[in-house]
């Protein structure tokens, strides 16, 4: 998401444009560049890896079960003889798409509520009380409760995989928009007092166009930073749910689910938990580093130094 934007900014704008400055500052953060590289690698791997690797993650070869690493199965096989590498690649697809879609949903909600609360002062109090209420809810227990209770209904409505996907993305989205809404509201409140907004208002710009033309482009940087943190948060939440046995069904692997299934064989094959765990941890670490670098790069006070 963020890296494509940065690349396009770098390509189509001149040498002293703000996009170029941001990219130059971003490049000086070694961890962020490494994280960006790793994140692109992971996205490419899970997007094209299953086609290149050729072994089906669902293919059960019971005679080749519980194998260690070999040339045929570089990461070994599980208790049903399914190839771990293939399952890891397919699982990554689900984990990353849950992360990205849930992040988009929560950012959309957060930006919408933040902008509306900041721009229209008559509804500000109500929306902020709503945000406070959501912040006071015990989120993880509620997530577990919602998923446990509505799982079967959605499964029958949309099929086992799509139903759970919709449920998890929706639940993560509606429980993680509060931070973004608060940050966006604060920025909108500050922007609203600036002269260019006053000038724009004095020539009769309607509120809707004012928001899309003047407010949204100026609050892009906190939104981008929240986006990276949102992906990390959503990936971890999904794997927590899967790890507690309340996520995707077991024949539909995600990284959290693979880790959960491997803990049953912890005594015999302890190496099996390492691969999915490493995949989650490294992805989240790289996304957090990108967020760190982006925050520094988008902050004009730091960029000047």
């Amino acid at each position: 998401m963020t890296e494509t934007r940065l690349h396009s900014l770098q390509d189509d704008q001149g040498p002293s444009s703000p996009g170029r400055d941001i990219w130059d500052q971003f490049k000086t953060h070694r961890g962020a560049v490494l994280g960006l590289g790793f994140f692109i690698f992971i996205i490419l791997a899970v997007a094209f890896g299953p086609y290149l690797w050729g072994i089906d993650g669902q293919f059960i070869d019971i005679r080749a079960r519980n194998q260690g690493p070999s040339l045929l199965h570089p990461l070994g096989t599980d208790q049903l003889g399914r190839d771990t590498l293939a399952r890891l690649l397919v699982g990554g697809r689900v984990s990353l798409s849950v992360g990205i879609v849930a992040m988009v949903l929560s950012l959309f909600l957060g930006t919408l509520i933040g902008v509306v609360a900041g721009f229209f002062s008559w509804i500000d109090g109500l929306l902020m009380r709503l945000t406070d209420l959501f912040l006071a809810l015990p989120l993880l227990p509620l997530l577990l409760v919602i998923i446990m209770l509505f799982r079967d209904t959605l499964r029958t409505a949309f099929g086992p995989e799509t139903g759970i996907f919709i449920l998890i993305v929706f639940v993560i989205g509606i429980t993680s928009w509060m931070q973004a809404a608060r940050i966006v509201r604060g920025d909108v409140l500050a922007l609203k007092e600036q002269e260019f907004v006053l000038a724009s208002r004095s020539v009769g710009t309607p509120s809707r166009r004012m928001i899309t033309r003047h407010i949204l482009p100026n609050i892009l940087s906190p939104i981008l930073v929240s986006a990276t943190l949102g992906i990390a948060n959503a990936i971890i939440t999904e794997s927590v749910l899967s790890f507690l046995g309340l996520g995707f069904p077991s024949d539909f692997p995600t990284w959290g689910r693979l880790l959960f299934d491997s803990t049953d064989y912890l005594q015999q094959y302890p190496e099996r938990v390492i691969w999915p765990g490493l995949a989650i941890s490294l992805t989240v670490l790289s996304v957090n580093y990108i967020g760190d670098g982006l925050r520094d790069a988008l902050d004009p006070r730091i960029r000047g130094r």
Partner: protein, 335 residues
């Protein structure tokens, strides 16, 4: 300050009532039947009687008010009776679990010590690690210690506790065999050997959670120290000839601890939430495990009560954080 605290406390009451109502509504909306897991040989009219005996015969709002009365009034009287030996008399209906048919509050009271030992200890250990690391990292900014500390805190922040937990089990229980992988809550500490055993079984869960907490707190500590180190009063203190150690440990540290203390207070409820996972990994039978089992069994009263207690913790510690901020920093006045 006092007025502010009273106002916030009064505001907390409707907030908590609203939250408990939302939780109740959510649980009630769910299409789950508590008698679904009973044997199919039970005739329908008996099944209906079971439902009524669970209190499901009444309308929604009556059940909610009943829960409120049982939880807020009856259980409070019970606690007063137990603590001070008073006798209010009368037979009060308590919040009963659908799984065990025993009072939910009693089960929770049984589970609290395990959670508090593991979670509370890990939070204290995390703070004790994080504060010195934050101080040194900020004082020697961009040194190798700072680089390593920042990296470790980034890793501790990014790696989920269910992976670190499983990882330490693999390393220290499976490969090295130093510590037991399952937390034994029936262990009674009465002599040296059982004390050693208790310490052994606590090391892994406590260190896993402590690493996670320390990672977050040390980042705040470092940022807060950095903010204060460039202030004018630090230069004044140095110019007066105060020793560097007391400049850092007395003047700067005290001021930079103000935001960190509020962050620590705000983090307490989240720690209880995060403990759900750690308790599941190490099989500690604390509050988190109780919640998971109750959710899986569709035990609505237990889930309702536990979730509500988590909500109370969040609201209460938010209040504590705000009040502490006002007490510690005289520049902040709420009135």
């Amino acid at each position: 300050m006092f007025n502010y605290t009273i106002r916030r406390l009064l505001l907390a009451v409707p907030t908590l009532l609203l939250i408990s109502f939302l939780i109740f509504l959510l649980l009630d909306l769910a299409p789950s039947d508590p008698t679904a897991n009973l044997p199919l040989t039970i005739p329908p009219e008996v099944r209906e009687k079971i439902r009524i005996s669970l209190g499901l015969g009444e309308a929604f709002h009556i059940r909610f008010l009943l829960w409120c009365k049982q939880f807020f009034y009856n259980e409070t009287l019970n606690i007063l009776e137990q603590w001070w030996g008073w006798d209010f008399g009368g037979d009060r209906l308590r919040v009963l679990s659908w799984q065990t048919r025993s009072p939910v509050v009693d089960t929770i009271v049984q589970r609290i010590p395990q959670t508090l030992w593991v979670v509370g200890m890990s939070y204290v250990v995390g703070i004790l690690i994080a504060v010195p690391i934050g101080i040194v990292s900020a004082y020697k900014q961009y040194s190798w210690f700072d680089q390593v500390g920042t990296f470790v805190s980034m890793v501790g922040y990014s790696v989920p506790t269910f992976f670190t937990g499983v990882l330490v089990i693999v390393i220290f229980s499976v490969w090295l065999g130093w510590f037991p992988s399952i937390y034994d809550t029936t262990l009674v500490v009465n002599d040296w050997s059982s004390f050693v055993q208790q310490v052994k079984q606590m090391i892994m869960p406590v260190s896993v959670l402590a690493l996670y907490n320390a990672a977050q707190i040390s980042r705040f500590m470092r940022a807060s120290m950095l903010d204060n180190l460039n202030q004018d009063y630090v230069r004044t203190a140095r110019a007066k000839g105060i020793r560097e150690r007391s400049v850092i440990l007395v003047h700067v540290l005290r001021n930079s601890l103000i935001p960190v203390v509020t962050v620590i207070a705000l983090g307490v409820p989240q720690v209880f939430g995060g403990a759900i996972i750690t308790e599941q990994v190490f099989k500690v039978n604390g509050l988190g495990q109780l919640l998971i089992i109750a959710i899986q069994a569709g035990d609505v009263p237990t889930v309702q009560t536990l979730t509500f207690i988590f909500a109370v913790l969040i609201v209460f510690f938010n209040l504590i954080a705000d009040v502490l901020y006002g007490i510690l920093d005289p520049r902040i006045r709420y009135d």
